[in-house]
Point group: C2
Chain length 398, copies 2
């Protein structure tokens, strides 16, 4: 029996274009993990979640362990609505759905909107997992450059104008991470936010706003695109992964009710009553604004430690963007092939993510690498950058 | 903005054919819930899961709360492999994946195999959620009748022969619940099991074996189809929902590694580290064979209570199948419209599922209804059947 002959046509194409598993080499356990997009272990509220799970099952017994869980699932929805509301996003019950993290949310949105005749626009560089998801649905992906102010909306406009003039397929969806971007760390300026919403109306596309880092601004947070979305063109995706615990898999989508209804219909893993109700109890038992202040303080400090180590230990030709929030510092190493450097770095006890994974055309990422200040502790960050610095000194043009 | 214009073509078709939300009317809280496919509340191990969650987080702290969780995720896989192995299914690590319950497993399998040019065969009646999933992918669904011995494989063969002769599209996948079927409660005979595997080879299709009730035989369990699957044509789907707690959302798929690899690639909710590791600890701390013996005893007794109440309280013309395992009794009420009867039943404090939901053509289910002995307690089962009996007496031909 030939397994391949049973795959549906699109799946066969997707598997052919993108053989699964092309990803980072294994990072040895003893390495300083500057590649990791994990939260700081000390900020993962395991004691509180333990208490929440225990209190929940003590009080509600089998209830949260059935298919539909307990009414506390609605409490989680309400808590998310309240948090969004404080940021200018007002969503009714039928405009919000819980997902298993942001990844499932992005996949579901692609599922209902995108097929192989449809196009998606992404900012470049972009979150690799989203890139992989879109590749599963369509070969038509357009990459729009970004700079210190995020997505270059004038470039997006030129692209749209040109394609319209030539009668080419226009994107149905733009995927963007406007706040504290992964991997670039940049934040879209207010002017560009207004511009991109205008373009969505003019050229009739939707925006998938991936807001996974949106509340992780060191000093302030810009209002999300969704808060400015008069024409209901934004599907806003959020997650507790970066501010609570990724292992709980709690994310959400807010948008026009017609989209939410379709998304719910195609979400066939049912819900996750246990995770969701434990999380609801955790949020009930926590002053989350206070908690977020601690989280932001921690990452601000760790980011400063990373930046200061970079200043001290890497060659002058290496440059980076200083982020105002999030988890990542995006680094340019002129003339380097960061994939090759990674092998050396791993053997010397430090990891990073080579730039190539964040681009539609991997070549565009050769000189770049992503460092994370979220997971490693401050001493490790300094030691890691020291090691990295000495590798870079041997490898870059000065 | 017109939301509909953004949906991809297939999704637009699926939404048009099957408007979401066509499902059971709300069941009042005080009703005796004979419609429910929930496990018995007394059999949901909430105390043990509470202890498991607590022990896990005490010992491993933040580890199981990160994206990849702790090594205990592999322990869960190993535990499932061991249980499958005891039933004659030997799967290596790359032949097994964990899913969020059986529903996500069925959806993922449909996702990689089925598109609108591909056909699926199902036994009739069948699990409504699977039916809804397949309808999301293809309009080509073929319904094969079943009787007391399960799927009528001779009818399947005739259908295949005829379609082949006429040059019509043949099914790529057969969906079946061979053990203690939902809703019919029937079990496929040994002879038919051999036959269906032969047909799969001859007519080159795959079999999705939904084994959600496979370990819930009251006296013995037949070996799964997968245990007889020489030609690697069976994708075996299992779940802990019916024997532990559905709210943990633990299911799995075993099959040829090429399928498992593709399924993993398209499963974009990542994994569920917290649920999975808590479950792994629960299984570690439990003698699960002993546990299963208790569960089977309980359901055997409750089934007997239901059957005895039926014998006592419903009119003679009403007939049913006595199941040898599982959760359900499938009932024929000659001349009745069970959908109409439900309204009356709900107002008199008892629920059931009308037959129409389990058929491709709802008309075929008009005279049928599904009762469940899993959720309600024994006294409630008797009271519920009494109420149902008096409603039926007023409504059936005698």
């Amino acid at each position: 029996m030939q397994a391949e002959s049973f795959f549906s046509e699109n799946i066969r194409k997707a598997l052919k274009n993108d053989p699964p598993g092309e990803w980072m080499p294994a990072v040895p356990h003893e390495c300083i993990r500057l590649h990791s997009g994990y939260p700081d272990p000390a900020l993962v509220p395991y004691e509180q979640l333990k208490k929440a799970a225990s209190d929940l099952l003590e009080e509600e017994r089998d209830l949260p362990l059935h298919y539909l869980g307990s009414p506390r699932i609605n409490a989680l929805k309400k808590q998310i609505q309240d948090r969004l509301s404080a940021r200018g996003i007002h969503s009714s019950d039928d405009e919000l759905m819980i997902s298993s993290g942001a990844c499932q949310a992005i996949d579901l949105i692609a599922r209902i909107l995108i097929d192989d005749k449809t196009a998606v626009a992404i900012e470049s560089p972009s979150y690799m997992e989203a890139l992989e998801i879109f590749k599963n649905y369509t070969p038509h992906i357009m990459s729009i450059p970004s700079d210190e102010d995020g997505l270059q909306t004038d470039q997006l406009e030129s692209m749209l104008e040109e394609r319209k003039r030539k009668g080419l397929v226009l994107p149905r969806l733009l995927y963007t991470i406007p706040a504290f971007q992964n991997p670039a760390g940049t934040t879209m300026s207010a002017k560009r936010r207004t511009h991109v919403l205008q373009l969505a109306e003019t050229y009739d596309f939707l925006i998938l706003e991936d807001d996974a880092y949106g509340e992780l601004g060191f000093t302030d947070f810009p209002p999300p695109l969704k808060a400015m979305d008069q024409d209901h063109r934004v599907l806003h995706v959020g997650s507790l992964s970066k501010i609570a615990a990724p292992g709980m898999r709690i994310g959400w989508i807010t948008g026009a009710s017609k989209f939410i209804r379709a998304l719910s219909w195609f979400k066939k893993d049912l819900d996750h009553p246990f995770s969701q109700t434990v999380t609801a109890v955790y949020l009930q038992q926590t002053d989350f604004n206070e908690r977020l202040a601690v989280i932001r303080d921690t990452y601000r400090t760790k980011c400063a430690v990373l930046i200061s180590a970079l200043t001290q230990y890497v060659p002058e030709s290496v440059s980076w963007h200083v982020p105002k929030g999030g988890y990542f510092v995006w680094i340019k190493v002129p003339g380097a092939d960061t994939s090759a450097l990674l092998t050396q770095a791993l053997s010397q006890g430090v990891s990073f993510v080579p730039g190539k994974y964040f681009f539609l055309d991997p070549q565009d990422g050769t000189e770049f690498l992503r460092l994370s200040f979220s997971y490693a502790d401050k001493n490790s960050i300094v030691k890691g950058v020291q090691s990295l610095g000495s590798i870079l000194k041997q490898n870059v043009r000065s």
